[in-house]
Amino acid sequence: MHGRRRERHREQNREQNREHREHRERCPALPAAVGALCRALPPRARPAPDTLRRAKFDRPQASLDFWRLLYVLLKQIHGGRWTESDAIGAQVSFVKAVLWYHGYGRPQLQRLPADGSAGSRELLLAFSWLLHSLGLLEQLLARNRVQTGDEASVCTCEDELPSSQEGPGEAGAEDRVDVRYLQWLNGRLRLQWCSLHAQHQEHCKLLHKIHLFTSGSHMDQNLRHFSVTETDLIRQPENCKQLLQLLESETLQLEAFLEWKQLEAVYWQWMETVLDNMAEEGNMCESQDADVEKRRLPEVTSSCPWVDKLTGQMDRLSRDLLALQEQLQQRVAQRKAAWWEKVAAREELQKERFCATARKVQESVELKLRGLTSLRAPRRNRMHGSGRLVLRSTGAASRAGTAACAQEAAAAVSATEVLAELQLREASLQRELQQLRRECRRRLDGIAEGLEGVICVSP
């Protein structure tokens, strides 16, 4: 056991020496790579290149910066709000939780102290892992893209609804609530949807007009018309400055990203040396500890809302699936019985002819159900984010089938596609709602039976 470990150590040392040599050879490139990496990060989160270098040596003074860096980056990706002044404890726990969520399983990281006072090297590793596994830079660039166009989301993921909070100014706590108040609120809500709809329609009309009226003006041949922002620029050129600054800083970021992509290899090699250093310092025994600890960990009894939500969904789904299974079992049994009866009766008559049709039927059923199984496979890339709305009349589309268009084709989505996707989504939500209502009806019918002398006639 001991011998083996020593051997491994020696092997690692050898490897390390090799890498060190490599490292020294490419050394001039490393600062450039780290610098490019830092500049490719969003301005508000941008670390000093020195932070990374210090982190390599696990300097405690870098750890606070690093927690903050990860906190800010991950918050941006997860669309959460954050401020510079968020408490360090919250930052640490958030980062740990998100890393866990994405499957980063280094126990050393989870064991870092909550005051953020240590662990810069662990954080450097986690950061590097995120860089690749989440496509951190790409995601951040895409998310923070400067909007010059009129955008519409193409994403069919639903937003998390804000959890409702009971305002403090509510009717006195002991007061009971009139059910009509709920009805009234509900009516208002429906009305609000109506007016939102109307507002959307009006907005569409305005957008379309602006797009139509400015068609042919834009120098970008893929767009050919202005967006609201751009039109406004012409009208009020003095507003241009801010947008220009944003665009320019984004361009710099993109150029830094390109530079980083060219120097990437050096960085990853450098990261390997970091891993080596850690191994050298005897984290081996720690990982063994981790194994022990893992076994020792008690069953989780957490009341985290996320976990609750997920397990709730699982419970519900399994209940639904079981109910469906039962229903199917019944129906299949019935159908089978009926089928055998009939077949027995007509056996002589149809044997020959039926074999042929049976095969056909089998094929068609297979085809029908294939759609279902393909759904279960990892779903095809769904569209996410938002796209710039571009008016392209069908005639123009065919005319503009040029190279430029083809180049962009990868990213272009047509409204028809989005509409189709939305329709699917709508149908499934509608079904879900209907199902919930059916369930309510069932339960309320049960209650109505208990109403003495009153019969409930559903509408």
Binding site: Q183, Q192, M219, V228, Q327, P378, R388, L433
Partner: protein
């Protein structure tokens, strides 16, 4: 034993003869769709009575009243009070007066409790007779029930508040969206309007009037005033042929001033009407006084019942509103009218005069046409002189233009035909986007920055990682992953979430398939097919169940590794972060996404459907909350007789989304 207020005694359990419809279904009560005129006629009065009901309720709250409530007409807890004070209903039913009337029920529920007003509002003659019977019945047999009925409409504090909070959150969210949308629309509108009046009006952030959750006493008072105004307006309406403009102006104004009056703006808004009318008259009388009115309010001239208070507000902010608002005026102004209105706008000098045009165009739908034309002309010249930056010649031209458009009022199809000095200056001078849109050029600095930026995006997207770098990266990733304590290949929580979502999708399709399967296929072949399908579905279901088990196990093992601070994951669990493995590859992420649409209709469909989806999403969330909160209220048995009303209300809410009502029938044959 007796009712404690309002109309609570009407709980209709007490019908004497045989099977009687106790609670008639009243579909469509909320946004009623009957014609405007008849709707008003029928409702003005009942609304008044609603208020008297309200006051009794107030009184009743202080000292429990003896005897039955005087006006027991409504059915407590049955008529979902339609939303009140809802500003911009632009959809046809919502614009309808009946909804505005719903301001009545906006009565503060606490005050109403044990609620009178909302119920009283829905009164209709047909029901009144029935109600009469019910009252008699109540006297005869079930007098004691009414008190219980009032109590029966109350929900226990905890669940009621949670349910209300869910709804209120949804409302707040919607209000937020509306403001945002309004802000954007205002910006676009400003662009489509003339470009030379920008110093005058900048689009402001959308209406900030929060709909509070409960009406203030002040608002209730206003409502009462409003009701009176409405009654007056009805009278005036009859005499509209005599003096259409004045009458409408006055009532419309009153309406607008009182009906809406957001809390903050109130002080400044209430006095406005008088002044406005004043000014308006002056102008009509031919005064040369420049139009100083910042809000000459187009709604001034609109028939009172079509006034949309919120619309009014918006117009105050952005004159260009008129253009887009056209179709919302209940289709009164034809599209022809709209285009020509737009055309006309070129000639107007300022936003103020433009507004006046809109205002003047309104009477088109009223009999006051003959008067509106001079009015318009006045405003044109007025507008010209106000601005003062136009030369006299321009002013003349304005006047001519005004005349022309007066002519246009007569023949609506007349199109824009003048060129004049307006169109000469293309990118600097005034004009509309429509005229000069295709000759516009973006500022050079922007063009430079833009193309540099898009070139950079393009290069990033097309960049291929070198094999060298990819190898180094993979080596690092593999090495670091060997130090993970989670078992290899186990799913990360993010992946579990995604997989679960997929399973849910499959399930909903499965159910759809099952439902689509015919119960009794006609042919032998069909029967066979159905059998096979069902069997196939069966096996898919069991596969899903297995998969679900795996996910459960994966989640459990992940939870064992999770940080103790897991509470935070809830807040970070991302709705829209594509999970690992699902992400389009990084190059795709960097592509500039373009969303092509081919026509206005398509754009509209797109937004409508998106809205529909998010509405359903919200509805489902609310439904779940309601189910969790409201069902347990009813479930304990034996069921109290008095809670029939509650039952009905909850039934409506849970099963029909508040749209329809079940009918409760008292089965007296049992006796």
């Amino acid at each position: 034993m007796q009712s404690t207020g309002g109309s609570s005694s009407s709980l209709p359990c007490a019908v004497s003869a045989g099977l009687k419809a106790v609670l008639p279904g009243l579909p469509g009560l909320t946004p009623a769709r009957d014609g405007p005129a008849s709707g008003c006629g029928a409702r003005a009065e009942p609304r008044g009575s609603g208020f008297s009901g309200l006051s009794t309720a107030k009184a009743g709250r202080n000292k429990p009243r003896e005897g039955r409530a005087p006006r027991a007409r409504g059915i407590p807890g049955t008529v979902p009070p339609a939303p009140g004070k809802h500003s911009d209903h632009r959809d046809p039913p919502a614009r309808h007066p009946s909804d505005r009337g719903a301001a009545g029920p906006r009565g503060q529920p606490e005050r109403l409790r044990p609620g009178a007003a909302p119920a009283a509002r829905g009164t209709r003659p047909a029901r009144r007779s029935w109600q009469g019977r019910s009252e008699r019945g109540a006297g005869a047999g079930a007098g004691g029930r009414s008190g219980g009925a009032a109590a029966g409409l109350m929900l226990p504090a905890g669940c009621g508040r949670r349910a209300a909070a869910a709804l209120r959150t949804a409302l707040g969210e919607g209000a937020e969206r509306r403001r945002e949308l309004e802000r954007r629309a205002a910006r676009s509108r400003a662009l489509l309007w003339r470009w030379d009046d920008e110093e005058e009006e900048q689009p402001q952030p959308g209406s900030s009037t929060e709909h509070e959750d409960r009406p203030s006493p002040k608002e209730l008072e206003e409502l009462e005033l409003l009701n009176r105004a409405l009654e007056k307006a009805l009278k005036v309406r009859k005499s509209i042929l005599k003096t259409p403009l004045e009458a409408q102006g006055a009532t419309g104004k009153k309406w607008a001033g009182e009906a809406h009056a957001p809390k903050k703006a109130e002080e400044q808004q209430v006095p406005v009407p008088v002044q406005d009318i004043h000014e308006c008259r002056k102008v009509r009388a031919g005064s040369k006084k420049p139009l100083l009115l910042k809000k000459p309010s187009p709604y001034l001239l609109r028939a009172p019942y079509r006034t949309d208070p919120d619309m009014k507000k918006l117009q105050q902010k952005v004159p260009a509103r008129c253009v887009s608002q056209g179709p919302r005026i209940a289709g009164k102004i034809t599209s022809k009218g709209m285009t020509s209105k737009q055309g006309r706008s070129h000639r107007t000098a300022t936003g103020a005069s433009a507004r006046e045009v809109c205002a003047a165009a309104e009477p088109w739908e009223t009999p006051g046409l003959s008067e509106s034309a001079p009015n318009e002309q006045q405003s044109f010249s007025g507008g010209g002189s106000t601005v003062g930056k136009n030369s006299i010649a321009d002013g003349k031209q304005l006047l001519d233009a005004g005349k022309k458009s007066c002519g246009f009022l007569g023949e609506s199809s007349k199109k824009e035909d003048t060129a004049g000095p307006w169109e000469r200056s293309i990118s600097l001078g005034p004009g509309t986007l429509q005229e000069k849109g295709c000759q516009l050029k973006l500022p050079l600095s922007y063009r430079k920055a833009y193309s540099r930026n898009s070139r950079a995006w393009q290069r990033c997207r097309l960049y291929q990682t070198s094999a060298d770098a990819a190898a180094a990266r993979t080596r690092f990733m593999e090495r670091i992953q060997t130090t993970f304590c989670s078992p290899k290949l186990s799913l990360s929580p993010a992946e579990i979430e995604e997989e679960l979502r997929g399973l849910q999708d499959v399930f909903s399709h499965l159910r759809q398939y099952v439902e689509a399967e015919p119960v009794d296929p006609p042919t032998l072949q069909g029967e066979y097919e159905s059998l096979l399908t069902l069997e196939g579905l069966q096996s898919t279901v069991s596969q899903c169940l297995q998969k679900l088990q795996l996910l459960r196990a994966a989640l459990e093992s992940q939870l064992r590794l999770c940080p103790d601070c897991i509470g935070d994951v809830g807040s970070c669990s991302p709705a829209c972060v594509p999970a690992r493995g699902q992400t389009c590859d990084s190059a795709d992420m960097l592509a500039v996404p373009l969303l092509y649409y081919s026509s206005l209709q398509e754009l509209r469909d797109l937004f409508a459907l998106k809205l529909q989806v998010s509405m359903l999403h919200q509805e489902i969330a609310i439904q779940k909350v309601m189910m969790a909160e409201l069902l347990p209220v009813l479930e304990p048995r034996p069921f109290l007789e008095g809670s029939a009303g509650l039952f009905r209300a909850i039934h409506t809410q849970l099963c029909e989304g508040g749209r329809h009502f079940p009918v409760l029938v008292r089965d007296e044959l049992l006796d």
